[in-house]
Homo-oligomer: 698 residues x 2
């Protein structure tokens, strides 16, 4: 922990220079040392033994604050002292905020937001003037679409385990996928699905992140087409897209990606097989009724029409066969994108259906890959399928027929392993290291712990496939997330209940309330599973999250070299070096080369003519962790976050005459307010700038 | 706490209807009751007495997590159980995020973000299609400026005390002011300063919120004018604007607002007098050197040039005299805005200067109004001024001369009450209920507690005007905030250190790190003032905050009536009522009248022709707290947050043919995914929509 000391000394020396405060070096150092001492004892903590008077003080505080013993235990399990790091990072979708949120566990502190689909000015994301690469990447057919409905974050995996390298996140509203590099926690790529306007089941990765799976949702005319609702069965379709990921480039490889046409059922969540089920992935569906609503015409609304049948279809997809069909060219181009059509999938044995009760949301594969757990939100059970039985049924052609698009439907009893009655509104299932599964129950407002069978039966004392315990949550839980709970080796210990309504849990924040992320301690077995923390989420409506062990992340503390371009992840030849600063002009094109360092920009004055096209390049010379500068020009809608070592470029037309202060927007030093300069935009000859004070005419 | 029960029953009945799950009513109710029981015992907590085995469990947890005794105490002081509400709300600027953040104290949980200067899609803020009122209000001279650098939030006051009605927030980058109504926590108005591009000292209110004060910062040509830096002294000026606030309308009354011309020193923070100093306000300044930088030309950079002199000028402004001068028409119009020019201010005795050391940031008035505390960041002291001495010096014309703009300068020794040596980099001062002041020390990375004199001397055991204690913080504190710490009656108890650098305090989040809001327990006297919580702020770089007792807020839990327009804060005659739903057309103008209720929209299909101008009006029929719906149309950049009772309108040109699903973006019920419909945009005759699957050609 010497960076701040170095910083303090550096800033202090500056002060010495400009202000002659001689004592400051000593004092700054002293404060830092005191800080280290304060936590120093902490770092190698001696075993605590509470003395009677300490117990008395603790009891006094508890009684003043009306805390009970459970509360004190929960506090001790979650409180994380100054300087102590969390054990896990929860990467959560930000719902309609369009972003991703990183939360530390067990402290449940929001560590950072990562801008993905919505311009975000603190990070300078989408505020780089005209031709900003973020704003360009967010356009759909030329239209700016500057938000997303982020749903399912997916951490990159190696052999079915999180490797901490990349994070993928889907945008349900606009069927887009974002790629985040976890070295600098920065969004590197956004791809738009060429087949459908909106989706749902994204993102899910195959066990080695060969592909990122994007499932659809509402039936649509593939390729953004039009057809009246009367032609639903004929012209509307579902789809699932397999985006090829290039790990070395850290980008989706669009040219080697493809999709599968599916019937116009509403495909929902997906999960990739692993171990025993490696090579498959599974997609839920609902509204196999193909209801088209129309309550305004006296038809039953979608909510009722889509819920009539007792069974929907679990989609079982052999993705290696699909990959082979794609490589063999057995595709049709739709809106310029290769699609394996339904008849091909049937002919090649790529796609099979298994009946699943009833309007399911989640399908979740057990860590060993042997079982698929389907939670049918209108059925009080979860239904467990066996991959061996599925393989055998496919081999033995145990079909009860096919759906009206010709997809073979496997015999339910031939593929079912078990059904476990849990309660009302099962949605999503996660796993731990003790042979338990955890399923969210929306209508019960509860988390159910239940016992797995097969090779897991020996890991817990209970009978296999039985409900063990339900813990109430507040309120209406959607998804849940256990520590590494969807990998081949879950950690147990912690589980997040993503409670969708908070109602009375927190101070009212107007008619719009936060969600409630509740932390459950699942370290014990049996019926012990308390809620130990409530975290309000008042920044969006997160839909789904994943929790990774923090030590798997290899985060950069600063950029590797001064002049680094985060977009290319390498040194940028255009990055101005110290000594190269200045302003040059070719015709009406002005190039500004600038450096930034505590506490000034070079140059401090930039003079241009009204209408000039300005390219403004800035390198920060800082190399100390946390020595971030900002750069903004008022009224020009420009703000950058220039992190240690970073190079940034801004382009704009200086179309507004006047004198515009620019300044550093990050409090970087004691002389931060003095870190500024002026952009002087000289009015075209013959006319004055707006306003102006004539001090002589008084 | 019966809303969720009602919700559960309502949803459940629906499920019963569509799915016949008979048990559900009972189970839903049971879960809710269990939830109440769980916290029920909690609500009327019996005094805790820790049994030996409980102490043992607690000690075991502490040792497993390496917590020391101080940590356990801090945990008990801050942990806030499920359903327990915080005692205070911290309203914090969001810095370059452009937003405001509300944080509960002592739990230090981020309760909600409030969108102000940056479009935010979760709240549907700026995503209402074309002609969106938010996007319109964010334009500056026709240019969209969709971010802000929010600096100083100001709660509305009555008799110098927070009244919990409104919150004002300034945008430094673009010199704008936002007005938030704390009934629904919604931004109602944004005003742009007509004189300057950027500012700093906003917002501060007079004791009864007659005016909202916006101070400037960097010298500029008033009215967005142009002048070369060589003309700095002649043509550049500072300013302070007094925005008249109309409490009944809840809006800034621009027509009755005015500004004062000031010398081109860099005005900084302001504070309004109260009690003894009522009728005055005080503004700091730095760079009275009028340095113009130019390091690129070999001049000293701004940071050095602006720091040469030992004294800057405290601006003492008699705002009632200023108001009289404005009403008497003694103003000049600049860019259409009335400005009291410097010579008038001098002639009318509106403006006086007092010398202040040295590049100060904060000027803060004691609760009794008798003392102004100036923190000069390049001076190890805080300097205390007496309002009695200031008034006497003005009456007795104890001037040492005037500055080069003719403003009389009061004799420093005649107005100074005391100077207190605290340490390096004093920035900002707050007060408690025990006669102490608290000053942030940026370079020391510490919070200083010091003793006040005068009538406060009897409230504490220490000598007056003495440093009492310094608590180290991590790291580089900017502003600080005590509970109601700038009102006439501070609460003491809690203090926030807005530490600007976090460095090693949290898990690294890439090169961009969060700030660190540290909670200090200031309930004790003397040298006891521990840090009890570290909160990472990874959503922006907050600059300043205010902490209000939660019970002062009269927040609406839902909108007062169904069909409420938050913009006008009344029922909207255009709000579609149940039974009025439908689609009508006049030429190419289409009007959609829609209602929303769990779990469907009416109508579910909307068919328009390519190029139609669509006006889409939605009323939610929900009245239960937290029953919020969203409404989005993919690829059209539209998303709304429709809170219980709310009416919203969207306008757009249907310029993209195709079939667009719209859906509810808030997880509102078990059948939330079924709450959707289709916008069918029929292609112009003669051309097909993009893409499309020809299912016959296979």
């Amino acid at each position: 922990m010497n960076r701040p000391v170095r910083h303090t000394r550096a800033t202090t020396l500056l002060i010495v220079t400009v202000a002659g405060a001689l004592l400051s070096v000593l004092s700054g150092e002293a404060a830092a040392q005191e800080g280290r001492r304060r936590r120093g004892g902490q770092q190698e903590a001696q075993p605590v033994e509470l003395l009677p008077e300490q117990v008395a003080s603790l009891t006094k505080i508890a009684n003043e604050r009306k805390l009970n013993v459970d509360d004190l235990m929960a506090a001790a399990k979650t409180f994380t002292p100054s300087g102590r790091h969390d054990e896990y990072v929860l990467f959560s979708s930000g719902g309609q905020s369009g972003q991703v949120y990183a939360i530390g566990v067990p402290s449940m502190r929001l560590l950072r937001t990562i801008a993905v689909f919505t311009p975000e000015s603190w990070q300078g994301y989408g505020f780089g003037g005209q031709h900003d690469h973020v704003l360009e990447s967010l356009k759909i057919n030329g239209t700016p679409v500057n938000w997303g409905d982020t749903h399912h974050p997916a951490l990159s995996e190696t052999k079915g385990d999180y490797d901490g390298q990349f994070l993928f996140i889907g945008d349900k509203a606009n069927a887009r996928l974002g790629v985040i590099d976890l070295r600098d926690w920065d969004t590197k790529q956004i791809v738009k699905n060429p087949l459908t306007i909106s989706d749902h089941g994204a993102a899910f990765v195959t066990p080695n992140t060969e592909y990122v799976i994007e499932g659809g949702q509402y039936g649509t005319v593939l390729g953004y087409g039009y057809a009246p609702p009367e032609e639903y069965k004929k012209s509307y379709r579902g789809m699932v897209t397999m985006w090829k990921f290039d790990r070395t480039k850290g980008r989706i490889d669009v040219a080697n990606s493809f999709a599968l046409e599916l019937p116009p059922y509403w495909q929902d969540l997906a999960d990739a097989g692993k171990n025993a089920s490696d090579g498959y992935f599974f997609v839920n569906s609902f509204n196999v009724e193909m209801a088209t609503g129309g309550v305004e015409k006296g038809n039953p609304p979608f909510e009722a029409g889509a819920s009539k049948r007792d069974m929907d279809y679990l989609h079982i997809i052999d993705w290696r066969k699909a990959e082979a069909a794609f490589k063999a060219g057995k595709v049709k181009q739709i809106n310029g994108f290769p699609v394996i059509m339904l008849d091909t999938s049937v002919a090649e044995g790529i796609l099979h259906f298994a009946p699943e009760p009833k309007s399911p949301h989640g399908v979740d594969v057990t860590p060993n890959g042997q079982y698929m757990v389907v939670a049918g939100k209108l059925d009080p059970h979860v239904t467990v399928y066996s991959i061996e039985k599925i393989k055998a049924a496919i081999a033995g052609k145990k079909f009860t027929g096919s759906d009206e698009y010709g997809v073979p439907v496997l015999d339910f009893d031939a593929v079912k392993e078990a059904q476990v009655e849990l309660g009302l509104g099962p949605l999503h299932t996660q796993f731990d290291d003790k042979g338990y599964a955890y399923t969210s129950l929306f209508l019960d407002s509860a988390v159910a712990r239940w016992s797995l069978g097969g090779e897991y039966a020996s890991k817990h004392p209970e009978q296999p496939w039985k409900l063990v315990h339900k813990t109430p949550v507040q309120y209406n839980i959607g998804h849940l997330c256990a520590a590494e709970g969807d990998t081949v080796s879950p950690d147990g210990r912690f589980l997040i209940s993503m409670s969708k309504w908070s109602v009375d849990r927190f101070l009212p924040t107007g008619p719009l309330l936060p969600q409630n992320f509740q932390l459950l301690d699942i370290a014990q077995t049996g019926t012990t599973m308390p809620v130990i923390y409530d975290l309000p989420i008042g920044v969006g409506e997160p839909h789904y999250c994943q929790m990774i062990k923090a030590d798997k992340l290899q985060t950069w503390k600063v950029y590797p070299e001064v002049g680094w371009n985060p977009l290319t992840q390498q040194l940028d030849p255009n990055a101005p070096k110290k000594g190269q600063e200045g302003v040059t002009r070719e015709g009406n094109k002005v190039l500004v080369k600038m450096t930034a360092v505590r506490s000034h920009f070079v140059p401090e004055h930039v003079e241009v003519d009204e209408g000039d096209e300005v390219t403004w390049r800035i390198t920060t010379l800082e190399t100390a962790q946390d020595a971030t500068h900002g750069f903004c020009i008022g009224a020009y809608n420009i703000n950058l976050s220039i992190e240690p070592g970073e190079y940034s470029e801004v382009r704009f037309v200086a179309d507004k005459a006047g004198t515009y202060p620019f300044y550093c927007t990050e409090f970087c030093s004691a002389l931060h307010l003095e870190m500024m300069g002026y952009l002087h935009v000289k009015p075209k000859a013959g006319r004055a700038a707006a306003g102006g004070t004539d001090t002589t005419s008084k």
